[in-house]
């Protein structure tokens, strides 16, 4: 993911008619595609509030409408500059749709533009209360690998790992539930125009939960891979 976007959105001077223009995609003056605006985030692109509950059919509808206008197919016979701009606009649109459509990517993106996810910060460390369980899991995984290599008896280890997988799956479900409730709180705070402090607190809680989620998910994936 890129740098967190800043919300400065100065009016552009259109490359084609040289008028000042405010359009997101097309010049309000001459109708040509405008240069990509770095300051526009995905929510703004879809004319949506920065909330985590998204009405998927409405999102899709907007995506298709914008695709219809921005897709490079429309500009095959246009100037090279317009072809390039359509490529930039339509790829941004597709990236935005791909991100907002998926609840986890959406949250991650929101945390990014709210300045919560700085580079390197989401390097995953085991949540302290999980340490013991993770330690046991890694041991079992190691034993399984050794048993596989030496042709030893696998059945007992596999049963143990399957139990561990189940336990982590359950924790994953729990994290997801907590994330959903935090997301609802975020949306309510947004509607209530809550103050900066309350917002920051929610964001940091969601950030923590998201890190925990991806950590557990990795564990589950690793176990599944070894069990296959």
């Amino acid at each position: 993911m890129a740098e967190p976007y800043t919300i400065t959105n100065p009016p552009l001077v259109c490359w084609s008619c040289h008028d000042r223009t405010l359009g997101t995609h097309f010049c309000s003056s001459c109708g040509k595609l405008v240069q990509l605006r770095g300051g526009i985030d995905y929510f703004t692109l879809f004319e949506m509030p920065r909330k985590l509950w998204v009405e998927l059919p409405a999102l899709e509808k907007k995506f298709l409408q914008l695709s219809w206008k921005l897709h490079p197919d429309n500009f095959v016979s246009a100037s090279e500059q317009e072809r390039e701009l359509s490529l930039q606009h339509s790829s941004e649109l597709n990236d935005a749709y791909r991100t907002l459509r998926d609840p986890v990517a959406r949250l991650e993106y929101l945390l990014g533009i709210e300045g919560m996810r700085k580079e390197g910060e989401h390097k995953q460390q085991a949540p302290p209360e999980l340490l013991e369980e993770v330690f046991e899991l890694n041991e079992s995984l190691e034993e399984l690998r050794e048993a596989k290599a030496s042709g030893g008896d696998l059945a007992g280890l596999q049963t143990r790992l399957q139990a561990a997988e189940k336990s982590f799956q359950a924790q994953l479900g729990e994290v997801d539930a907590r994330l959903q409730s935090a997301a609802r709180e975020w949306d309510a705070a947004f509607d209530a125009k809550a103050d900066e402090g309350a917002r920051k607190k929610l964001l940091s809680r969601m950030n923590e939960l998201l890190n925990r989620r991806s950590y557990i998910r990795n564990l589950v994936t690793n176990v599944q891979k070894e069990l296959q």
Partner: protein, 613 residues
């Protein structure tokens, strides 16, 4: 706007089609042999000229060392990739091949894009002969599961053939377009496309909006080295083993008879799609004859593993689209190999519905390409195609792992930005390795490109370079870099791991133009001379049959003068002059042609030319 054609550059056959505004339907263009299929075979004549299509296919039997088929299997691949292929296909790879394979035909070597360009140029000629005007722009189809290098190689082939490739369209998506136009389908569609050498499965959603129809690809998967060729190879291996065992004849020693046997086995395979039994009688060196009866049941048992191999990508594509087989509203079969009954049965059973086979599975992809060409040509559209990237794009990170930056099945164009900085003071370059694939280690993925990002000297960690990776609407990667401190755009020279660079493509284009101009004039001359010959013969015949008395005064002299002029032109080498003289003689003999016919017919045939009577 000039015409844009749609081209299906296939493993076994290639086709060219256009959208006919009169009928509102796409249509394939036949070649000089009357068929719309151009066998994807290229042969180098001992005189140095290139032969393409049906005549080249015949040369597989007599001049196998100078001929090549299924070159699509080599597109965008390196010598190390094709070792398995070499056991099964008679490709003569030049040992000096580096990143790009070079194939030997007789005394010359060509790259796969050059060989494909010969096929494209042949189809371009078909289209030009059909329209009577130059054709310079095309939409070309590629297997949906083609990676970046294979797509780039296809685009290069187009350029070498003198075509501006406006878009590469995925084959199953093209087929869906053709079917959509044909059947006005709606809802969720699965396209199962098994061709000569490639397999694709695509899951699409067809949406009607106020502005028009949108074809949105939800997921795609496949295998770019799986197709009818594999069935042929299985049959061949079985039969060669039997012949060796029963008759002690080893085919490894004779390339020409291998091709003869391959041709016969393909016939047997095709017959078994229609009937339950087929026989083969194959005379061997030394007078013995190998005779055998094949049953469909035995063929089915032999090819079951090939059919099963297609089902894994099918399941993956559905899982990626988050759909169950029974949720599909339509299933479409594409590609000649789907004529095989076992495949039809397997697909029908899996999806629980009868697949569509109404359109000719050989032609449907080219027809769809023509529809897309029409959309691009008209600018104002009533249809939009949203396709996806078949493979995840990633960059190699610390320890050889891959960080996925654009996941597979992302709608294209798609992009991702990555921020880079330096690790040591005054570091001047950052090495970046871009790969494509789903595996976790870079060495298990397909290497697309390596490049070094230039960085102005500065303390470690201070430079901030943003690299933008963008997959365009053709599924081809573009890279741009921006120095965030200065706002300066860097150009990134990306050397493809398995492709031609621009200079090489340019040189091949120049070479091919020299050939092409010569070729074109020569071909036109041969055609004009043939036509001249037939009108001269017809005129002589008519003059002998019709008494001079029936001719008007001076008519005979006029015809004689035109005949002499045409003979003189045909002896020269200016095809345009020959055409002009043909027209003049046709004019001069209109009355003579009428006299040739009895009065009852003459009204019906009025205005016909002499050669047609």
């Amino acid at each position: 706007m000039a015409r844009i054609v749609g081209i299906d550059l296939g493993t076994t056959n290639s086709l060219v089609a256009y959208f006919d505004p009169q009928t509102g339907r796409p249509q394939c263009i036949p070649g000089p042999h009357g068929s719309t299929l151009c066998p994807s075979v290229v042969s180098l004549d001992p005189d140095g000229s290139i032969i393409v299509g049906e005549p080249a296919r015949r040369r597989l039997l007599t001049q196998s060392e100078r001929s090549i088929y299924s070159v699509k299997r080599l597109m965008g691949r390196g010598p190390g990739d094709v070792q398995d292929e070499l056991k099964l296909f008679p490709f003569r790879i030049d040992p000096a091949s580096q990143n790009v394979i070079r194939v030997r035909l007789g005394e010359r070597v060509f790259t796969p894009p050059e060989i494909s360009a010969f096929i494209l140029r042949e189809l371009k000629n078909w289209a030009e002969a059909h329209f009577g005007e130059a054709v310079e722009r095309a939409v070309i189809t590629v297997p949906a599961y083609f990676n970046d290098a294979q797509r780039q190689a296809t685009k290069d082939a187009g350029r070498i053939a003198g075509l501006e490739v406006l878009r590469l369209v995925n084959e199953p998506t093209a087929a869906a377009l053709a079917y959509g136009l044909h059947e006005r389908q709606r809802g969720k569609v699965a396209v199962y496309d098994l061709g000569g050498g490639t397999f694709d499965i695509s899951v699409l959603k067809l949406i009607s909006t106020g502005e028009g129809d949108i074809y949105q690809v939800l997921a795609t998967n496949g295998d770019t080295h799986l197709g009818g060729d594999d069935i042929d190879n299985l049959l061949q291996a079985q039969v060669r083993e039997e012949i060796l065992r029963l008759h002690q004849v080893d085919f490894a020693k004779s390339a020409d008879s291998v091709q003869e046997l391959r041709k016969e086995l393909i016939r047997v395979k095709h017959e078994l799609s229609a009937v339950d039994r087929a026989t083969l009688r194959f005379p061997l060196a030394g007078g013995a004859v190998y005779a055998r009866e094949f049953t469909r049941a035995a063929l089915d048992a032999l090819i079951a593993p090939v059919v099963e191999r297609t089902m894994k990508p099918v399941r993956q594509a559905l899982a990626d689209a988050q759909l169950q087989p029974t949720e599909m509203d339509e299933v479409v079969l594409v590609g000649g190999t789907t004529r095989t009954p076992l495949i039809r049965e397997t697909v029908e059973k899996f999806f629980g519905r009868k697949p569509h086979v109404e359109l000719n599975p050989d032609e449907v992809v080219a027809l769809g390409a023509a529809v897309q060409a029409d959309i691009l040509a008209r600018g104002v559209k009533n249809m939009l195609l949203l396709d996806v990237a078949p493979l995840s794009l990633g960059i190699e990170t610390y320890g050889g792992a891959v960080a996925k930056i654009i996941p597979r099945n992302s709608t294209i164009p798609a992009s991702a930005q990555e921020l880079y900085t330096t690790g040591v003071d005054n570091q001047t370059g950052i090495d970046i390795h871009v790969v494509q694939g789903e595996r976790e280690l870079a060495k298990d993925c397909r290497s697309l490109a390596r490049f070094t990002l230039k960085v102005p000297p500065a303390p470690a960690g201070l430079p901030r370079i943003e690299v933008k990776f963008l997959i365009d609407a053709n599924g081809i990667l573009q890279v741009a870099a921006k120095d965030l401190r200065t706002g300066e755009q860097h150009t990134v020279e990306v050397q493809p791991s398995y492709g031609l660079n621009d200079a090489e493509v340019e040189r091949m284009l120049e070479e091919s133009i020299e050939y092409a101009e010569q070729d074109f004039a020569e071909r036109q001359l041969i055609e004009a001379r043939t036509e001249a010959e037939s009108i001269l013969t017809a005129t002589a015949k008519a003059l002998a049959a019709v008494p001079d008395a029936q001719l008007a005064g001076g008519e005979r002299e006029k015809i004689d003068a035109n005949v002499a002029a045409l003979q003189a032109a045909a002896a020269g080498s200016d095809y345009k002059l020959v055409r002009a003289r043909i027209d003049e003689l046709n004019q001069a003999t209109t009355h003579l042609a009428e006299l040739m016919m009895n009065s009852a017919l003459s009204t019906a045939l009025e205005g016909r030319r002499l050669a047609e009577v």
